[in-house]
Symmetry: C2
Subunit: 200 residues, 2 copies
Amino acid sequence: MMEYNVLPLAKLIEQFERLPGIGKKTAQRLAYFVLQLSTDDAKEFAEAIVNAHDKIKYCKICKNLTDQDLCYICRNNSRDKSIICVVEDPRDVVALEKTGEFFASYHVLHGAISPLNGIGPDQLYIKELLNRIRSEEIKEVIMATNPTVEGEATAMYISKLLKPLGVKVTRLAYGIPVGGDLEYADEVTLSRALLGRSEI
Amino acid sequence: MMEYNVLPLAKLIEQFERLPGIGKKTAQRLAYFVLQLSTDDAKEFAEAIVNAHDKIKYCKICKNLTDQDLCYICRNNSRDKSIICVVEDPRDVVALEKTGEFFASYHVLHGAISPLNGIGPDQLYIKELLNRIRSEEIKEVIMATNPTVEGEATAMYISKLLKPLGVKVTRLAYGIPVGGDLEYADEVTLSRALLGRSEI
């Protein structure tokens, strides 16, 4: 294929095209926008990418994103550490925090069991969750995986592992629309779902 | 506003949010994607931004984008330099080149006259176009500005300046887009297509 754009621009377009949900035309539009930024702004953008990538790691306890050893929730002593809310993704933590009604702790699995995509329990942070429940004083585990087939299966799988440990396991109420994505639920729906949680 | 994301991530999301047509949710999705890139890929992305920004400048002759003094079209001696196609944006050059049927040269105005947006003739590369016509042997200037109010006004303005210089000025044909549906063509386009009809 012949390349009509000058090389550094073509490379930048290519980079944007690799982003999820960004097509050829949008990638071109974004690249041209970057060209029109001030030099400082362009540098800031580039640094933000490298910085985010270099500095962010997983919290040693809950596997949430953090730039320190522990995330800001695990560092916070006023949070109720005896309740763990299990989510698939760090974005779900952000969504739940935005309800302003949850003051316990989290555990981020970083995915859901999905045999079709080759993701089994071993690729998720399930072992680490079990270790927390064995070593900390945990009263309740709230399964807040997505209301999808994979999320459900993951919740069921984990709850079966947790039952023998004598911990109460609950599931978010179906205030959240079935087949939806936790990340996109609105705050009110999410708080309803938290309030209506039931034992599994 | 309370920030629920860890700072380097929040900063990256903010950077993506500044891009045109990228909302909060999309910015978050893109930032998380970047986090999951390999370190090398993230660096490559960052470098592509800085590189494109630093290396790309305007061609000394036609104001198209280039990383050298002259763009690849102006450097190409097999192109017909006696015909200049005037466009608003470097992306229009790419679009016309893709037809594979245009072998002359270009002149990029970098915008269109738009009093509402405070863009007058002096902010465009019109003076440079006039200089080219005075100093080079130009037979024809094709006005290929957009078929919008601003593009039309710009084409009219420039053609008035060019007429006294004794150069032939043409305008891209208006009509129904190939592969389109007559039913969905707007009235103005249809009447232009009727006016511009040719014998078969």
